[in-house]
């Protein structure tokens, strides 16, 4: 939370003193960003401040992703060719995106909020493409590892797991696992099998739930006795 506030502040300076300070991202916003709710909803929000904030945070996210990617690639000098290529691609795209959206606050302060709107869409799209790229690269490395486990030392494993969720701040994470499992299957039901938006939920529940639980729940779903809201 504190981190997000820090990201919001410079955007405020750049825009204008006329607007009240934007509220810290609410639970709804968090959920929206997490659940791939429609971009239009975010963009057509009543306050113009939010619109300007969006590209900034998006670029921050992009930068973070890039630095993470760079760290990964720097820590893995002898990785195989494919992940390198993927990281190269993804490190190229965000530069353009960040330069794009770094212009946007200026434009927003000078002109209308429409330009900010457009740039925000651009940068968010760029962010999505990057995440897609990173996911792709991780899949590739995974396949490499499975295919040739002893051929060469490929420390291409991406250290990434289900994030800490503010809905489950306690030690007991049973519901976290269950919720992620249900979310995945609801996502599949809504967007169809192999929908790319659902992949992260699958990743999350596989990270959190013991295999035994997942097997039992899969069986229950097949029998139609699963106790959750699917």
């Amino acid at each position: 939370m504190a981190k997000i506030k820090c990201m919001v502040r410079p955007a405020l300076h750049l825009t204008a003193p006329r607007d009240p300070p934007p509220p810290p991202p609410t639970a709804q916003q968090y959920l929206k960003s997490q659940y791939h709710l429609e971009k239009e909803q975010l963009n057509t929000a009543s306050k113009p401040v939010e619109e300007v904030v969006v590209p900034d945070s998006a670029t921050e996210a992009v930068k973070e992703a890039v630095t993470a990617e760079v760290e990964e690639s720097s820590s893995t000098p002898e990785s195989s060719e494919t992940p390198d290529a993927a990281s190269g691609e993804s490190s190229e795209t965000p530069v353009a995106a960040s330069s794009d959206s770094s212009e946007s606050p200026d434009a927003a302060s000078g002109k209308s909020s429409e330009t900010a709107d457009a740039s925000s869409e651009e940068s968010s799209e760029a962010g999505e493409s990057i995440t897609a790229a990173t996911e792709g690269s991780s899949e590739i490395t995974e396949k490499d590892n499975v295919g040739e486990p002893e051929a060469e030392e490929t420390p291409g494993i991406k250290l990434e797991t289900a994030p800490a969720d503010f809905r489950f701040p306690t030690t007991n994470q049973s519901r976290h696992c269950f919720t992620r499992y249900v979310e995945y299957h609801r996502c599949i039901a809504a967007k169809g099998e192999d929908a790319p938006e659902c992949d992260k939920f699958a990743k999350y529940y596989r990270s959190l739930c013991p295999g035994e639980w997942v097997d039992r729940w899969n069986e229950q779903r097949e029998n139609g006795t699963f106790p959750g809201p699917l």
């Binding site: 486990p149 030392e153 420390p155 250290l159 797991t161 994470q173 049973s174 596989r206 959190l208």
Partner: protein
């Protein structure tokens, strides 16, 4: 199995295990354990202060008011000043103990940053299975292995008795780890003293602990719940991030292939 044991023996020597006649804590491997040790020292300061003061009063009273020295007992029943002092001071001292204690307690409980990886430690009678599922792409494929205590009669030379396991948990050092602790049968627990972690493993419930091992090494722990005759051991081996990648890709996957 035995090959991996020999391999471990030559690469790392067990320096973070309990020693005979050990009095203090084991060396800290996580900031959490460092905090615990520091709190222990803080509290010991007050403990010794109180101990000295109380024993001085006690000995002094016994000495001066002995029946032979002081045959006529004093008849004082009130002393306002001393009563105020002995009420206020003992109520301030617990505050000095409680404040750092609560600060530590809540900072240990809090998950500050997003963890970088999740390990599931599942207790069984009497072994542990560990799941590394961050790399899965389907429900079937999983990086799972069992970790059995090496029996009393065949540890390798230099291994600790009833403390060493056949498959250690390999974790990257200086990384935020989420460990999900649960059990498949009876209540177990997952405890590693030098990382300052002790978490009950309750069937049907997932307990989360987050640790960040600060230095590479091998850390030994044992089940801390009465779970049966063979309390299973826990051995965590922290390696550098780079080594972790190669260990996971090279070592763990073939093992799951066997199992």
């Amino acid at each position: 199995m035995s090959f991996t044991g020999i391999f471990h023996f030559f690469t790392n020597s067990p320096c973070d295990a309990a020693e005979p006649w050990q009095l203090g804590s084991q060396d800290a491997a996580t900031p959490m354990m460092q905090g615990i040790i520091d709190l222990h020292h803080d509290i010991f300061f007050f403990l010794i202060l109180i101990l000295v003061f109380v024993s001085r009063i006690l000995v002094r009273a016994l000495w001066h008011f002995h029946s032979k020295k002081n045959p006529i007992p004093q008849r004082i029943v009130h002393g306002t000043t001393i009563e105020i002092l002995r009420t206020i001071f003992p109520s301030i001292i617990p505050m000095f103990i409680a404040i750092p204690s609560f600060a530590l307690l809540y900072s240990m409980d809090e998950v500050v940053v997003d963890p970088a990886m999740t390990i599931k430690a599942i207790g069984h009678q009497w072994y542990r299975s560990y799941e590394y599922s961050d790399y899965n792409s389907s429900d079937e494929q999983s990086l799972t292995f069992d970790s059995y205590t090496i029996p009393e009669d065949d540890p390798e030379l230099g291994q600790s008795r009833l403390l060493e396991v056949d498959n250690r948990v390999v974790v990257p050092a200086k990384t935020h780890l989420r460990i999900i602790v649960t059990s498949a049968d009876v209540p177990h627990s997952w405890a590693v003293p030098s990382s300052g972690v002790k978490c009950d493993a309750v069937p049907g419930r997932l307990n989360q602990i987050s640790i960040s091992v600060q230095r590479e090494g091998v850390y030994y722990g044992q089940c801390s719940e009465i779970c049966g005759t063979n309390h299973a051991s826990i051995v965590v081996e922290a390696v550098s991030r780079k080594d972790y990648g190669s260990r996971v890709s090279n070592q763990l996957i073939p093992q799951t292939g066997e199992a």
